[in-house]
Symmetry: C2
Subunit: 384 residues, 2 copies
Amino acid sequence: MTFEESYLPPSVDEISSRVAAVQAQMVREKLDWYVCFDPDNVYYLTNFANFIHERPFIVLIPATGTMRFIVPKLEIPHVLSRKVGEIDLVEYFEFPAPAGGNWHDLLQSVIGGAKRVGVESVCQLQIYDAIPAERVRTDIVDRLRFIKSPYEISRMIYAGRIASAAMSDLLAKAEVGRSVSAVSSEASRLMMGMIVRDNPSINPFATKAGAVFQPPKYSDDPHNFTDLAMIMEEGGPHVSLVAPRLNGYASEIERTFFLGHVPEAAKRPYDIMMEARYLALAMTSPGARMSDVDKAVNALFIERGYADNLLHRTGHGMGVTGHEAPFLAEGDERIIEPGMSLTIEPGIYLPGVGGFRHSDTIIITEDGNHLLTHAPESRDDLTL
Amino acid sequence: MTFEESYLPPSVDEISSRVAAVQAQMVREKLDWYVCFDPDNVYYLTNFANFIHERPFIVLIPATGTMRFIVPKLEIPHVLSRKVGEIDLVEYFEFPAPAGGNWHDLLQSVIGGAKRVGVESVCQLQIYDAIPAERVRTDIVDRLRFIKSPYEISRMIYAGRIASAAMSDLLAKAEVGRSVSAVSSEASRLMMGMIVRDNPSINPFATKAGAVFQPPKYSDDPHNFTDLAMIMEEGGPHVSLVAPRLNGYASEIERTFFLGHVPEAAKRPYDIMMEARYLALAMTSPGARMSDVDKAVNALFIERGYADNLLHRTGHGMGVTGHEAPFLAEGDERIIEPGMSLTIEPGIYLPGVGGFRHSDTIIITEDGNHLLTHAPESRDDLTL
């Protein structure tokens, strides 16, 4: 790993090479056009961040030549201020518009002569229905996003460093009585401060600088963040999560920690979680099958007596989002390749005791993997 | 309007009557099942709020009998803590799962024998493809949401009062140098304080207590909120926006205001905006066509010389979201009916001068409309 850190937006060359890769795959799949609607894929191809609402943004990629971008008139200045690379804007006034002026009319006029059009798995039915051609479901952009370019790796190194700094701060300030809202606002302040200092024109629509924790009463239910008044308590396990998206690239680091002492009932599950973590880190290398990592982790947990304490897979992909394919999951038969970024986060959840999970973000190298996030991980180091 | 305010969650009867209305329409459309994926429709039918990610939540409604809800195991405790009414949970362990255990396997096993299945316009292609039956695109739940029940109106009266309080506070504290981030955090603090006092167990996934403003340099570009360091300036027009979703129901109130004095160039556009506002309020009554309101507003603006200053429709629907169908737009041919909730917000945008727009949320009554939000609106009252 000799990549430099970067916080800069993608270059025109970076974006052009992504589009060229999509077009090369379109030729292999004999597609005239590809219709891209998923906001994360649109962001990847244009550097413009949107979200799903009733005024759609749709990127149309021809097999050769310049992309088109169907956008509402109201958003043209924002598209122009963020987009990188060559793209022709196709503007509609409003939704809904009188007949002939709607987004679907424009879609049809751009790709009217097409024979075979590629669409995403998450394509909305109303967009799918508007395509006047044979439609082929194929997630070309999602698959391209699996393998990070050197530029993307440099952005993820940056995001990982900032997330690690926030985790370090969270652990340094951990004490009985500290609330989720205090942790959340402090981590947000710290991460936003760091990235805005580096690049004052960050895109708020591609930024979410969050961090939270769960005290022992809640940590056995890993997505329970319903009570922002939750506070840290003597003992543990507490599970802390720093999972920001920082001006377009995401990172994730999570740590299980204790205050004052480690309850007896927490010692063995912690140690078994660590055993599973080392197993997953050792297995997650080029050539391995994603599902085999998860199977081995689950088998270990089951063998150690925790069959009833499993709630999720071993890890998920990371990139322009904080949660994406591919997955270290029993159902994912893909082969791990260099340039993939994944979380490693085997966990077990014991009602009445709490949750046990660390997470780190890794990048797959030619012969193994490399951690992009860093924090103490041993039971002793995390008894604060 | 004799409805009471309410901040309480829907009753079992309220939810049951929504489901019964969907099922009655399904019978009319000869559907065996309806597949509901849009998180806003899912919330409307269950009181459980989710968002779109790789682990789908899917409500399956049979023509008669109990709804099913396909949910990831990880989220079961949260579904149980929020859901109102009768619903059978169908659980999958993870995404992706080994063959046979995926969400689409469960979908097929639940509706396997169906002949005709209704789906939403925003249905993802991967869900559409998983349905083993004739599929009919029909937005039954969205259409049902057009007409608010007495309970919903009581929630929207509540949301309108809280939003109006935040606007009142924003205007009271307006002064040269005040920043968007100060306005935003103050409004959020005030609205969250009010609703949490009333109901400490509000759902954060159905809550977003936002407010912002645009100073004159930015207000001609109505969706430009890229710079949180923007500050209020002597003169104007500033456009302020309070658009919260408060534990499940939304409201919107916006005001154009000035500090110290009204620049000469701002007087006429302000007055014409007010003329369009009164026209829209007068026309938006039961029996009128949505598009006719927008046509009349646009014709007025064009006649007064502002043809080049239009960027959006006259208004949009409001309910469990802050932006939904139907629309006061030239392309919406629907007839206005009692119980609909809409915004009234004709606006014009003059580069170099600024933006001119008030917005209020209304409910359509038997013979006209009723404002759910309240703030000063005259040029004099809004010169602060």
